[in-house]
């Protein structure tokens, strides 16, 4: 039987292979088309901005233009001034966003563990979450002094409660039958949490990481607006005060690049952590 099928199987296999190759080629072409358009849009925007600046279609004092901005960034990079500011801000953001996710998740664990505590804390969390937390910045500055701690705490005030609410929600949405599996083996509450609830909630935790990357930047920049003597937020504020908008836009551009990089790192972690789901 096999000997009769083999000759016909070989060409049919080649036929399938062709279809597959064509599919992959099409997919690659589609992807490269999207990328081309994306890059040309960006390039076009910078060219238009440069031209608009040079030919004075826009107010250069306010909007500056790319070559001026890149020159500024280059100058600061060479003089070493940039790295200090960048380091401070990135440090604050990374600490704020990791700590925010961690503390928020731990709080979610606590209220998952104790439904009583959850009921008690619920209205407080809802109220705190709907408050403009940034307005608490001045209080943190007085409490912790004008510096790193106050800025990180400002960031935490923005990220913690949202993280708690999202993660706690995902804890509760874990399929009760998966929990039943552990319970039928006589598993304790701790085991239920470790073996089911926590691993089932990794996707939610990673997605709060993504949200918190953005949130942390808001917290840090606002914090730096209020207090700082260094950092990118300070550069923006300083640039604004001396009417150097090239400096403001340079800082914004750097923030965009670093924030994107951080986001990509989280996406990478997500892919590593969440294969097979």
């Amino acid at each position: 039987m096999t000997s009769r099928e083999e000759p016909s199987a070989a060409p049919s296999k080649g036929w399938l292979q062709d279809l597959y190759i064509r599919h992959m080629k099409l997919k690659r072409r589609r992807r490269s088309r999207v990328l081309t358009v994306q890059l040309s849009l960006l390039l076009l925007f910078f060219i238009w901005w440069e031209a608009a600046g040079r030919f004075k279609w826009i107010d250069v004092l306010l909007f500056s233009y790319p070559s001026k901005i890149f020159e500024n960034i280059g100058k600061q990079a060479v003089s070493g001034e940039l790295w200090g500011h960048l380091g401070v801000t990135v440090g604050e953001t990374v600490v704020g966003f990791l700590l925010g996710t961690l503390v928020g998740t731990l709080l979610a664990v606590l209220i998952w563990w104790s439904p009583f505590l959850n009921k008690v804390l619920d209205p407080y969390m809802v109220v705190f979450n709907s408050m403009p937390k940034v307005a608490l910045g001045p209080i943190f500055i007085v409490m912790f002094g004008a510096g790193f701690t106050a800025i990180v705490v400002t960031t935490l005030s923005i990220t913690v409660i949202v993280t708690t609410l999202v993660v706690y929600n995902s804890f509760n949405e874990v399929d009760s039958n998966l929990i039943k599996v552990v319970r039928t083996f006589g598993g304790s509450k701790r085991q239920v949490f470790q073996r089911v609830v926590l691993p089932a909630s990794y996707p939610a935790i990673v997605s709060t990481l993504k949200v918190n990357v953005g949130m942390a930047w808001v917290g840090v920049i606002v914090g730096e607006f209020l207090v700082a003597k260094s950092g990118l937020g300070y550069l923006i504020m300083y640039g604004f005060q001396v009417f150097n908008f090239t400096l403001v836009l340079s800082s914004l551009l750097i923030i965009a690049v670093v924030a994107t990089a951080m986001y990509q790192i989280v996406v990478y972690i997500e892919r590593k952590l969440l294969t097979h789901r």
Binding site: L178, K180, V181, V182, F185, G186, G187, P199, A200, Y202
Partner: protein
Amino acid sequence: MVPVVELNDIAHVYVTDREASLAVEGIQLKVDPGEFISLVGPSGCGKTTILSIIAGLLAPSKGTVSLNGKSVNGPSSEVGYMLQQDYLFPWRTIMDNALIGLELTERLSPESRSVVENLLKEMGLGESESLYPSQLSGGMRQRVALVRTLATDPGLLLLDEPFSALDYQTKLQLEDLIVETLKERGKTAILVTHDLSEAIAMSDRVILLNRNPGRVHRLFDIPGNIRAAQPFYARKEPGFNELFHEIWEEMQAIGKEGSQ
């Protein structure tokens, strides 16, 4: 002979904000070692409640439960529970899923691991050890769930409609596999099912439950020739259809009673 399971005048009440409702009442049941019994009945007759009470997941409001002569207070490793679906953990490999019971009861050792490995091989899952549940078909996944349940070597298996999510062909195959595996190992089993023919084909005794509240309505002993045959062939044994119709009619009568 000490019965594996003994339920003595069990009643269970579910209390909600609206009311306290009686789910089962006056349940009296003895299951002998090596026996395979089925619980059938209209929906709402408390089949799953009874299983949960035996498993120690639910404390009955009234009455006593004992397992091998000892009273039950909480889940024990003497009991294995199979749910309607496989409920494998999607983030664990097949091997790790099969080992979860041993992990939870802290009995994981190189020896117990190799026992599970052999079980997987016996069920035709040897090649799938390092795959993830999403890569397997429904029937294969339910077989992994069976291995997971058997891994801790329980004397009693509770099967809560374990075939309800499978297609007909896979279901027939699994019926045979489960009956064979359990008989071979001398396990006692209680099956809950909607499917009368499945109950008759697989078990030694069928218990028909009444509803609102759940009570034991009648017991049916399955004739030897049907019991001896594999579930698939049992359906063709003489007497099968007659028994099916007898139980069917009883069930219809209960249905009418309940709807009045």
